[in-house]
Symmetry: C2
Subunit: 376 residues, 2 copies
Amino acid sequence: VKHVTWNADAAEKGGYEHFMLKEICEQPGAIKATMTSRILPGQPVKLDDIAFTEKEIKEIEKIYIVACGTAYHAGVVGKYVIEKMARIPVEVDIASEFRYRDPLLNDKTLLIAVSQSGETADTLAAMREAKSKGVKVMAITNVVGSSIAREADNVLYTWAGPEIAVASTKAYTTQLITMYILGLYFAQHRGTMTNEEIEAVKNDMLTLPEKAEKTLGHRETLQKFASNNYMHKNMFFLGRGIDYAVAMEGALKVKEISYIHSEAYAGGELKHGTIALIEEGTVVIALATQSRLYDKMISNIREVTTRGAKVLGLAVEGNNSIEKVAEAALYVPPVQDILIPVLAVIPLQLLAYYTAVQKGCDVDKPRNLAKSVTVE
Amino acid sequence: VKHVTWNADAAEKGGYEHFMLKEICEQPGAIKATMTSRILPGQPVKLDDIAFTEKEIKEIEKIYIVACGTAYHAGVVGKYVIEKMARIPVEVDIASEFRYRDPLLNDKTLLIAVSQSGETADTLAAMREAKSKGVKVMAITNVVGSSIAREADNVLYTWAGPEIAVASTKAYTTQLITMYILGLYFAQHRGTMTNEEIEAVKNDMLTLPEKAEKTLGHRETLQKFASNNYMHKNMFFLGRGIDYAVAMEGALKVKEISYIHSEAYAGGELKHGTIALIEEGTVVIALATQSRLYDKMISNIREVTTRGAKVLGLAVEGNNSIEKVAEAALYVPPVQDILIPVLAVIPLQLLAYYTAVQKGCDVDKPRNLAKSVTVE
């Protein structure tokens, strides 16, 4: 068992109105802490708490990422990342579904359980179920010594510090960081990326804290957008590829704390049903951060604005042409496409936060929800 | 190229107020036509248009089911069915996502493209993309000679007859039937089920037309429920396991034709965010048809009724205890758990239909939607 020192001050609001805003703003530091010592330039990716043998890593034929809520959404990003970097097939599953699915498992399967608290009941049960069938299990958690950390064969900690607000923010972004680290680690051992490629990703990752800080600068714009739109009953988030994964997390944040029925869609699925819901004034948040999908998303934005939607676009700095189709746009600093979720989620967290504040909701303790779900 | 005779009358409404209601009511016959000659008792499952060699079937290591909209939801059921029956890992993907994902494919991969019209642009493109990489491709479609049918290596036709209403109903249930047929076919060739098990599923399948007819008898109850609830802005569908897959299709139907923002959730995920949206009077449709998940769903129903939700439960005849927690309940006739989606979806289709009628929507031609999406 390891011990981590969290000083008493860290659990205070430190000048912020809510823990959630404080935790959103702590993300640059949390991201940095989670990367530190693991991805030093010019050195192999190093994971202290991981005891895989070289042979075990090479033999992995399939990875299941199992989690609930926000951690599940980190897993959805993880699937893109690990499949792309390490070319290992990944299936992401909701823990309560995985448990009762009778999934295909064997000793070449790795299960990764993701849980901020390390105590999520369904995730823990899924992990135990898999372990009992001879599957190797690994935990990604924020709490040293938690049940999931103790029972897993391997643990990769997020170093987000204590997260008090019920709606998870810095736990999510640090979970994303662990996905990149794992992707690189497996790629390095399985030879699916060159050293140059690995170094390039690492170097870009090391710029994320500073770029996250810059992205937090959108606070005022989002506060204003929220004050103009908080009264809507519905909100839609659109994205393609890894942007779709981030859109899911954006929609969940809005649901959790502002009680607006928000939902994420894959851009290409709109025409297969959901577009029927778009009418004059419907608020749509459109993520268009992925270079090869940018033009497709611009078309999707056009489809919804034609039907009267009010679109807030999110793109990478320099792609200003989004303003031709969206009513308003926000930009994140450039970084490798696969790393963008770490930055793109920040405006979505802020949007949810300011919307909830504007509605007068209890931001840190939304109705009906508990911080960690330790019962089924 | 095969020819199929559709007489002119079949394209008329034949006494029904809308094509959609006519097509919902045609499901018993469509299901029967799709099974006929393929699953004769005591004989091996026979697929005329399938040219897999014994060796090819045994070598399949992974199946991708790729589709859009309702056909995608049939694929979600297909994953449960094929994994359970044939123990082949299945990944279901939205066609527009699959195309740009750079998925892991090889010559041991089978791609199944599902499309009622056989002309869905993204599905066709996904199929071509896979084929160009040496992947075997198979089509499930309702239209003989359609692009997807012509370009696939193998075709399994649904025999639903012409579907005119934009919102798909009988195409979906017949797509489910093809999933069972395929599951049994692969199981038979790979030896993952005994002959007795296969015969038992076939015998139960053959009772589906009659049981679907009986399930249509809920029309009046659903009409009444719709007239009491059509004014809501939101509606939620809950389910676990294969019920969750059916819940997704129920939510899509409501969205498409009644413009109510409806969404499906896995029962176990409620507590991880969505339950914040439940308030006094929120309408929840809860599917509790799966025997091993019944008690878990009863708990989930209790969670939402405690917060004021108005629950319509759906269970198998005999499981009347659902009435203790739900405000109202509907029942489907008993059949093997895995076959229940064919019956369970019918009340959801009827609910969407009567809700849209009550709202005065253009049921057969909902705003913004086209019957087959032949552009990206």
